[in-house]
Amino acid sequence: MIRWLLTLLLLGTVASCAPAAVPAAAIADSADEIAARAVWAPGELEEHYRKHPDGYRSVEEYDRGARETIRVGTRFHYRDTQTDAPRLGFYHRETNRFTGLTGDGRRITTHFRPDRGERYVRGLPGSTYR
């Protein structure tokens, strides 16, 4: 009985320490598929372009830049600072561009050129960028 209770306790501890599961779609889908399919929430593309123009000349060019970063960048995972929600990231070192998406890769959450380059993406919570 005690052994059984200890096993249950151990299993519970392991489960509560496990990192948030990354949705399978984000693991299985190719970068090309994610770049083609991902969407922005209403109003977010325009607002992100306004806040981070980063040399892009139009909203359309900014959106293309976000998707190109997905296609050519290094894929990694990180967590949102406030909610701990899983995030999928792509960083292209040569052009210093970063695109963030929800953990399932279906919604683009941001796109910008980090001031601190690689150090920024490496320092994101739970970042797997190497």
């Binding site: 929430a41 109003g43 607002e47 992100h48 600072t81 406030q82 909610t83 970063f98 399932d104 941001t110």
Partner: protein, 104 residues
């Protein structure tokens, strides 16, 4: 909870309360890579975008920003969504809905 995370969370809660939404649920937040002045003379904090789900079900999109004229943090823009679009099936939105229902 890290210090910056706790400071930003308290700031967001205060700014949401000022807009009459003290119990709104945050979801879909994202660090935005540039720094804003700190809170009460503290270290700088990172700008952030995200969404707030109000008790009546309205979703607001917002950015945590700095109003240089007023010398204070603000939620700007702070816009109610007419249509949820891609958010309707978003797991983080659905989780926020469940959290809201648990609180009601």
């Amino acid at each position: 909870m890290s210090t910056e995370r706790a400071v930003v969370r308290a700031l967001l809660e205060r700014l949401l309360a000022e807009r009459g939404l003290p119990d709104a649920i945050l979801f879909g937040t994202q660090q935005e890579g540039f720094l804003l002045p700190g809170v009460a003379g503290g270290p700088p904090i990172e700008a952030l975008s995200g969404f707030a789900l109000a008790r009546d079900g309205t979703v607001y999109r917002f950015w945590l920003a700095w109003d240089g004229r007023a010398q204070r943090h603000v939620l700007q823009p702070f816009v109610p969504l007419d249509s949820l679009g891609a958010l309707a099936e978003d797991p983080e939105y659905l989780a926020a809905r469940r959290q809201l229902q648990d609180h009601l």
